[in-house]
């Protein structure tokens, strides 16, 4: 069964335009000018129950606007949205009982209150009986290891601790779908990893559907099995992570340290990315030349040290942004 169903979703913003300088400011008062910015243009997709989906794109691609329409924050201008069979624009409050949201850049917690008081407040917001709230706080505190700072005001917590509390607050009412908008922004690698494992755990134990937007490739790679890339308000790729890697990972990065300074032959399928003294960094396109052949061409016997790796997922995504973004914009 589908947890999220989106068809031909559209959203347009009217943005004020102002010419530069004082003259422009005066003109803007006398003759205000606006222009339409199409933030989301006919987006359609579905997310199955229990699925973990990465919804990514460059800044201004329309991903936050989409997530805001899915959670009922924004009204769509066209198309149809259903989250758990509910139209967010028409029955926002009813939907809110069944979804959780974590916006990495927007705090939902009261900063002067302790996490415990905040959780009690959230319990009241979601109409959870007091005893049940206490039980859930206890359970989540243990699971998310909040014991050490549950009675410290939120404003005195580190960013990592705060994000963990934000996630707990969004889980208190056992949501069926969790929307995470850049949940690991600004976190150090250790905390990022712990947040990711908590999200994974939640998905595994409660079959929670995860809708994730992030600029962090690590989040996407480690959490999601499916990826949707948006650019200029349109979907430019909707594929499984496995498929994405299979299709795009035909390029290998070969780093070699030669025994002595060498010149590399010009061969189709081998691109020299960097060459300095005995060190060289090459890109091998395995669709054009097999890796074994490539190694023979660079004279593997004269190699002192070698490292072969895949092109980072980040580079693949960047390439998709660039290539597909041009098509979408045009």
């Amino acid at each position: 069964m589908q947890a999220i169903s989106v068809k031909e979703l559209e959203k347009t913003f009217r943005v004020r335009r102002k010419e530069k300088g004082m003259r422009g400011s005066v003109q803007a008062i006398l003759r205000p000018q606006t222009e339409e910015v199409k933030a989301v243009r006919g987006v359609s997709f579905g997310v199955d129950e229990g699925e973990m989906l990465a919804f990514i794109g460059p800044n201004g691609a329309g991903k936050s606007t989409t997530i805001k329409m899915l959670t009922g924050i924004l009204y769509p201008d066209g198309g149809r949205v259903e989250v758990l069979g509910i139209d967010p624009a028409k029955r926002r409050r009813q939907l809110a009982y069944q979804i959780g949201t974590v916006f990495g850049q927007k705090e939902q917690l009261w900063t002067h209150l302790t996490p415990y008081d905040n959780f009690r407040f959230f319990g009241a917001i979601y109409d959870i009986p007091e005893k049940e709230t206490e039980r859930r706080i206890g359970e989540l505190t243990e699971r998310f290891e909040l014991g050490g700072f549950i009675n410290t005001p939120v404003r005195n917590l580190s960013l990592g601790q705060r994000i963990r509390c934000e996630i707990v607050a969004s889980l208190l009412h056992k949501p069926k779908v969790l929307f995470l908008d850049e949940p690991t922004i600004g976190l150090d690698p250790v905390v990022k990893e712990s947040v990711r494992s908590l999200i994974k755990q939640m998905n595994r134990e409660f079959n929670t559907t995860i809708f994730l937007t992030s600029h962090d490739v690590g989040d996407i790679e480690k959490l999601c099995k499916r990826i949707i890339i948006v650019n200029a308000g349109q979907i430019v790729l909707d594929d499984s992570m496995e498929h994405l890697k299979y299709h795009y990972l035909h390029k290998k990065i070969v780093e070699v340290k030669m025994q002595e300074e060498t010149t590399f032959p010009q061969v189709e399928g081998i691109t020299i990315l960097k060459h300095k003294g005995t060190y060289a960094r090459l890109e091998v396109d395995t669709a054009a030349i097999e890796i074994g052949d490539a190694l023979r061409r660079i004279n593997a016997q004269a190699v002192e040290d070698i490292n072969i790796s895949n092109v980072p997922l980040e580079n693949i995504i960047m390439e998709i942004y660039k290539a597909e973004g041009k098509d979408a914009a045009s």
């Binding site: 913003f13 004020r16 936050s64 606007t65 805001k68 959670t71 009922g72 924050i73 924004l74 009204y75 926002r92 409050r93 009813q94 809110a96 009982y97 979804i99 949201t101 916006f103 850049q105 927007k106 705090e107 939902q108 917690l109 009261w110 900063t111 002067h112 209150l113 008081d117 407040f121 009241a124 917001i125 979601y126 109409d127």
Partner: protein, 264 residues
């Protein structure tokens, strides 16, 4: 339905309680703010005492009526800013897209927004207003009636600020107009209506609802008039409904933002 209303009220009470708890974190600032607001209001009343030594009535008001005027204004404005302070900064929330966290909660978004902040000095206003009403010699019935007018005044004032603030969904720079109108209304509300004639009187009764917040209530407290009484009640209901409708109509135009924000 009853449970929904009960839970909504509970959340509003919790919200106001947490707001006051936040303000009380710094005990000295809290007490100083409350005390100085009371003293500040009291100092202005001294000026009225001096004026009434020179003249017996000003604009048809005696000292007791001026005290009623001040009591109702201070208590209504105070109560409104203790319970619904956020309504006075609504344009800023709308323009900078800070309604998101209220919109993802399963509660009435308007009440959640309005009760999300409190103003400490308003506690001073409220206390001062209630003290004045208590010492005006209204008797028990009169005092209870004055409390009802504090509530209607609070409702009208809040609805007026909500109505103006909601215009920010359509017009970007509305916060100045909204702020000036509310502060203007409060200033006019502390003078006897008898001194205003012609257009200014028309403005105070029909554009700025000063007449409904204080003038009619003062007249009713001096001499009960059923017609005037129900006009005030009806106006409070009508303006609340109108302001709520404008807010929800505007909410459809809400554009959010990508600004970093924290719930303070």
């Amino acid at each position: 339905m009853l449970t929904v209303v009960k839970n909504q009220i509970l959340v509003c009470i919790l919200s106001v309680k947490y707001n006051i708890m936040r303000e009380m974190l710094n005990k000295v600032t809290f007490l100083m703010n409350v005390t100085f607001m009371i003293l500040n209001n009291a100092s202005i009343l001294i000026q009225w005492f001096v004026l009434f030594r020179l003249r017996e009535d000003i604009g048809g008001y005696t000292m007791r009526e001026v005290m009623l005027l001040w009591g109702l204004t201070a208590a209504s404005f105070g109560l409104s800013r203790v319970l619904f302070a956020r309504v006075y900064s609504l344009p800023e929330l709308i323009v900078s897209g800070k309604l998101d966290s209220y919109l993802v909660q399963p509660k009435n978004v308007l009440l959640s927004v309005m009760t999300s902040s409190t103003n400490i000095s308003a506690i001073g206003d409220l206390l001062y207003g209630l003290i004045l009403l208590a010492v005006c010699g209204l008797g028990v019935r009169g005092f209870l009636l004055s409390l009802l007018f504090v509530v209607t005044g609070m409702i009208i004032l809040t609805a007026f600020a909500l109505f103006l603030g909601s215009l920010a969904f359509w017009f970007v720079r509305v916060e100045m107009l909204s702020g000036e109108m509310v502060m203007g209304l409060i200033s006019f509300a502390t003078y006897p209506d008898g001194i205003f004639q012609g257009i200014s009187r028309f403005l105070l009764y029909f554009i700025m609802p000063v007449g409904m917040i204080v003038y009619h209530p003062v007249h009713i407290l001096v001499r009960f008039d059923a017609g005037m009484f129900f006009t005030v009640l009806g106006y409070a209901c009508l303006l609340s409904v109108a302001a709520t409708v404008v807010f929800y109509r505007g909410l459809r135009r809400y554009a959010s933002s990508s600004l970093m924000e924290a719930r303070m």
